[in-house]
């Protein structure tokens, strides 16, 4: 049985660490990770709770496959109520933290209440302690990592931590584990900071077992073979990482640029995955050193990169952490577009530097880049001036300005603190809410909904605010996985989104990476689950669980006041046609797709979850 069936509940107000049994009835209904923790959240945290109050609770949770030999099975999720969106937040991370939690004997760690002073949590198998963090409060994730490793003198300690932005209320602070893997979106790091928790340091020696080892080896080996033989997971992702998308999306005219004013970026190829392989002049080395894997990952899309030693970003900065001059976690596509094309910056090393800052300090680069881009547009329109920016000439394409803003948000100082509230609040404050490319207050990811129609519907309906990882129809509309659909067409996109949303909810609840879904379907996941833990896990049942999870999240959001009323895109997407590329002249067909979506979901025409649907799903 791959569950430990144990939960560690940490009450920070009282200073207690209490083990309790995992609710196995809920496991039957919601599987694990995203689904299961959302169930805990809905039962324990009233939807109207202020996300940054002690009444909010944070769940760090593994899935049933986490810690096993199934490919990519090292994932964990952080579920809480988001301070950025007011909706349910669920951020998923790889690295080696999730498996270590399982190895220590815990399926889930719950942080509730608020510590009266800065603390970190130390967990060594059964022993859990709340320890003072005065010495690391105000430090970066990387400094915290070093301090904890030195303090505990254990090179194999696995650490998840927040940086300064998480402490100081930047609303899109991430939790970073293993130096550069992020539970990135929706401000889960901000919630951790609001509880005065700096870090969680884990060490587990118990290991994980499975229900039927023989079947498990057979089925996971077969599933790994599928990944290895699939051109995307076996070749494309290891070689070029997610950044391989930069040129594809740009060529097809869905590459957001200049705060979504444009959908083609002239400098795209200079900041693409291909560009990361080209040797640079200064030292003859490419940006990319190698690919790396998270725990158990046989895909290994992770980027290990260096910044050009001659690049201005790292010159004469004595206070920079030594890792800026060495190998570290490099650019992902979502960071590259947001910090790059969206701000008009085509300087690969500037983007790598900004990515390092996001890793070091725990920031979501999507929200950060998007917010800077919105500020740039307002600067160019004269809505804000150097008076507001603290002297920064915030024009599109200004790499130095992008870096300065990034550093300011990382320090949560001055103009940075304002940008740290996210694009929705920033734009609203300056009287131009329509310039914020957000849904439910969360910044868009990298696909223009005018050029990829299904994604517009996905952003509008995503339970955690605009997001590509909730229903990645790009796979079908652009890449032809599992079948090719026309990105400019709205017909059939409601059903496509729902299928992707439900399936993804399952992948996110198993303990594996969603990237496996480029090669695996639920038919491939079910037998692995079935061998790992008791229960009868069929693809059909998993599909239903996916739908149940989606509806549970939706119900929570409805009660939180961010249900159907928030299912909308910024006016730029629905009223300003794209100007270049194949989508020229097009706007998002959300108005057409949304009613179909509600109908196919079994919701009311107004977008409410109906009593029938609830009954059907046992909610």
């Amino acid at each position: 049985m791959s569950w430990t069936k144990k939960v560690l509940r940490i009450n920070l107000t009282k200073g207690t660490c209490t083990p309790e049994p995992l609710n196995m009835e809920w496991v039957e209904q919601f599987l694990g990770q995203r689904g299961l923790a959302t169930k805990y959240l809905t039962e324990e945290v009233p939807p109207t709770t202020d996300a940054l109050s002690p009444e909010n609770t944070m769940y760090m949770i593994t899935g049933p496959l986490t810690g096993t030999m199934a490919s990519t099975a090292g994932r964990y999720s952080v579920v809480t109520k988001s301070p950025l969106t007011g909706a349910v937040a669920c951020s998923n991370s790889g690295g080696f933290f999730g498996n270590e939690m399982k190895c220590a004997g815990w399926d889930m760690i719950i942080l509730e209440g608020k510590s009266p002073m800065p603390v970190y949590i130390s967990i060594n198998d059964d022993k859990a302690e709340i320890l003072p963090a005065d010495e690391i409060w105000g430090k970066s994730v990387w400094e915290t990592d070093e301090w904890l490793h030195a303090k505990h003198q254990d090179p194999q300690l696995r650490i998840a931590a927040i940086g300064v932005p998480g402490e100081k209320g930047v609303l899109y602070a991430a939790i970073i584990n293993d130096l550069h893997r992020a539970a990135g979106r929706s401000g889960v790091g901000t919630v951790m900071g609001s509880k005065n928790v700096k870090a969680i340091a884990l060490r587990g020696s118990k290991g994980v077992t499975v229900n039927d080892p023989k079947a498990f080896f057979e089925t996971t080996t077969a599933a790994k073979k599928i990944l290895a033989e699939n051109a995307v997971t076996g070749e494309g992702l290891p070689a070029l990482g997610t950044q391989v998308l930069m040129n594809v999306i740009n060529e097809m005219g869905a590459q957001p640029a200049h705060n979504y004013k444009d959908s083609v970026f002239a400098g795209a190829s200079k900041i693409s995955g291909e560009a990361m392989l080209e040797p640079r002049e200064s030292d003859g080395k490419p940006n990319l050193t190698r690919n790396a894997g998270c725990f158990a990952c046989t895909i290994s899309c992770g980027r290990i990169s260096t910044i050009d030693p001659q690049h201005f970003s790292i010159q004469n900065k004595d206070d920079l952490h030594h890792s800026y001059h060495a190998n570290s976690g490099g650019l992902e596509y979502e960071a590259a577009w947001a910090l790059g094309s969206d701000t008009g910056v085509d300087d690969l090393d500037a983007l790598t530097y900004a990515q390092f800052v996001c890793n070091e300090q725990g920031l979501d680069p999507i929200s950060l880049g998007s917010t800077i881009a919105a500020a740039m547009e307002m600067f160019e329109e004269g809505v804000i001036t150097t008076k507001d920016t603290g002297g920064i000439e915030l024009n599109f394409g200004n790499a130095k300005a992008m870096i300065e803003c990034t550093e300011l948000v990382a320090k949560a100082e001055g103009f940075g603190l304002e940008l740290g509230q996210g694009s929705a609040r920033f734009c609203a404050k300056h009287g131009r809410p329509e310039l914020s490319m957000t849904v439910r207050g969360q910044e868009f990811p990298a696909y223009d909904p005018r050029g990829i129609q299904g994604m517009g519907l996905g952003y509008a309906t995503s339970n955690r605010g605009a997001c590509h990882l909730r229903g990645y129809t790009v796979a079908s509309e652009v890449l032809g996985i599992p079948i090719k659909t026309d990105p400019l067409e709205t017909e059939g996109k409601a059903g496509l989104q729902i299928a992707f949303q439900n399936a993804t909810a399952v992948f996110d609840s198993v303990g594996i990476c969603v990237f496996t879904s480029f090669a695996w379907s639920l038919e491939d996941v079910a037998p692995q689950l079935d061998a790992a833990c008791e229960g009868d896990w069929t693809p059909e049942r998993l599909g239903e669980i996916g739908e149940r999870i989606w509806n549970l999240e939706r119900l929570y959001n409805e009660a939180a006041g961010v249900g159907a009323s928030a299912d909308k895109l910024p006016p730029r997407m629905t009223t300003e046609p794209a100007t270049t590329g194949p989508a020229a002249g097009k706007v998002s067909g959300l108005a057409t797709m949304l009613p179909e979506y509600y109908a196919e979901r079994g919701w009311s025409p107004e977008g409410g979850v109906t009593a029938e649907t609830k009954t059907r799903l046992g909610l």
Partner: protein, 85 residues
Amino acid sequence: MSKMTVKLFASLMEYLPVNSTKSHGFDYKITDSTTVGYLIDDLKLPRNVIHIVLLNGVYLDAETRDETVLSEGDTLGFWPPVAGG
């Protein structure tokens, strides 16, 4: 003779003609009847690796790909199977 642009990405970059700048594409001379299929064979691109073909940003279906005739100023991009997110 007129010209169009060919772009090769990801693992297909190894089929770039010598001296061409990498991902920015290279000029290709066409006649009134040059098809994508002809171009693929002419450049010795491996058909089993080609997955996404965009003609001026628009996806070319595998079925109609070979017969599609190229025009002056077209941009044709080739990718192996890729994905990200």
